[in-house]
């Protein structure tokens, strides 16, 4: 009788351990699945807010695009203000968990970090950048959507 109880206890313990192990595997798998954030492609602005006010309804900015190339360079069209213009090099501060996009214009010494988010909206990635263009007291949020496939 006692040995049967013991067997049952061992079985239950075994199941518990196995399930724990599987949780661990799953958690590890989840961590491993976090992809490298690839922003290569051409992006166009779909929304700009200034100090929280949405300017999108009044301003036209469909011409403003930024292209991130696979070779680590960027190209900015000049139809809207941005913290850089022309071309330069870009990189994310962390390929898996980026919180800033670092832009280094080719004609300047210093690199400029921009606060970066990469949310998925309606199944598509969006690029969201927080920056100041003139006075530091004015903050802008630029939201982009991808227009071309990654090159």
């Amino acid at each position: 009788m006692k040995s049967r109880k013991l067997t049952k206890a061992i079985i239950v313990l075994g199941i518990c351990l196995a399930s724990l192990q599987s949780c661990k595997d799953e958690a590890l798998a989840l961590i491993n699945e976090e992809p490298i954030k690839d922003i290569a492609g051409t992006w166009r602005v779909i929304q700009i807010t200034r100090n929280g006010e949405d300017l999108s309804k009044r301003m036209r900015f469909e011409d403003f695009q930024i292209e991130f190339k696979n070779d680590g360079s960027y190209l900015v069209s000049d139809a809207l203000p941005f913290i850089v213009d022309g071309q330069g090099a870009y990189q994310l501060n962390d390929p898996n968990y980026p919180f800033s996009l670092i832009l280094k214009p080719s004609d300047e010494k210093d690199a400029l970090p921009v606060k970066f988010q990469f949310p998925i909206v309606d199944g598509e990635r969006q690029l969201s950048l927080n920056l100041s263009l003139g006075c530091s007291s004015n903050t802008y949020q630029y939201t982009f959507e991808r227009v071309g496939a990654a090159k």
Binding site: I48, R50, L55, R58, M59, P81, L133, G134, C135
Partner: protein, 328 residues
């Protein structure tokens, strides 16, 4: 019998609470201020806040520190430039700014933010203001009917910008915090128009509704700015017009012309945003196609009709509206 004695206990308790509320009343007298009408730019001015304490305490004492604050334009940099002290029959005392790290318990904000949330910006229409709150270094203990008057002296440099503004003032008791329902321990008021004269830039009018405004108030030529024409402010030649255009010149720091848009076309047309208001959003560097290395220092502009014949300028005159690009 048992029930009666139970009721008696409640009655006594209620009476006790009522007596405590009625007797522990230590309010402040209403606040009046002495504010000059004008000052020259960069002049150091002393504002006087007159109030008093009216302690009504039947038993025990009331110990607190005096709070005082003023609301001034951010450009005064009052956090650095403001000093306060007070005079009273209980002694004269120094006051110190309350550090940002100290939280006003009712709002959960620091004292300066809490004061702005509580008192607002009064009759000013443009929110470019800071409330700055000071506290007496010493505590003071009051006994019943120890009525006193006190005067707080707030001394501050009025900055280098021409302006017309209403200033805010507050006195309070440190142990009472900023409770919304309290009217006894917090007294505040706003001054009549105070003008700073003699500076180089344009007059910043915080008080009067403006025909033309620029947002954000502090901007550079690489910001996105919004120029708004408010046709509801006063009657102008553009009253019946539904199409309003911008006539604008961009100047550098030496007053040299960097660019201009004088035609009535799609680029210069304002959008009707309702309420008789029209606005145009623009990126000055792109709008005037300013080359790298050049900076727009100021804009001079008018609002016109579609023909360009009907023109409205600053204060409904023939003078242009002026906007100077600058940060804090």
């Amino acid at each position: 019998m048992k029930r009666l004695s139970k009721h008696l206990v409640y009655i006594y308790l209620g009476f006790g609470v009522l007596v405590t509320i009625l007797l522990m009343h230590c309010g402040l007298k209403s606040l009046t201020v002495t504010v000059p009408k004008t000052a020259q730019v960069n002049e150091v001015i002393t504002f006087l806040l007159h109030s008093g304490a009216e302690p009504r305490i039947q038993s025990g004492t009331y110990t607190t520190q005096l709070l005082a604050g003023i609301m001034v334009p951010k450009s005064w940099n009052a956090r650095k430039n403001l000093t306060m002290n007070f005079t009273s029959p209980k002694g004269n005392g120094a006051m110190r700014i309350i550090p940002d790290s100290e939280i006003e318990p009712v709002s959960g904000l620091n004292w300066h933010q809490a004061a702005k949330k509580m008192f607002g910006i009064g009759p000013n229409l443009v929110d470019d203001m800071d409330w700055i709150i000071f506290r007496s270094v010493q505590s003071y203990t009051f006994v019943n009917n120890e009525d006193i008057d006190f005067t707080v002296r707030a001394t501050c440099n009025v900055g280098s910008e021409n302006m017309l503004v209403s200033l805010g003032f507050y006195v309070g008791s440190s142990i009472e915090n900023l409770r919304p329902e309290d009217t006894d321990y917090k007294k505040f008021t706003f001054s009549n128009a105070f003008q700073v004269l003699g500076g180089e830039g344009d007059l910043q009018d915080f008080i009067n509704p403006q025909l033309g405004t620029v947002q954000p108030v502090k901007s550079l030529d690489n910001d996105l700015i919004s120029l708004t024409f408010d046709a509801g402010v006063t009657n102008t030649v553009l009253d019946k017009e539904s199409n309003i255009y911008l006539y604008v010149k961009a100047l550098d720091a030496d007053g040299q012309l960097l660019g201009q848009e004088l035609e009535q076309n799609v680029k210069t047309k304002l959008q009707d945003i309702g309420g008789k208001r029209f606005t145009i959003d623009l990126w000055p560097r792109g709008f005037f196609n300013v080359s790298k290395g050049k900076q727009i220092a100021k804009l001079e502009y008018f609002f016109t009709d579609q023909t360009g014949q009907k023109v409205v300028g600053y204060g409904n005159t023939e003078e242009p509206f002026k906007f100077t690009f600058r940060c804090d």
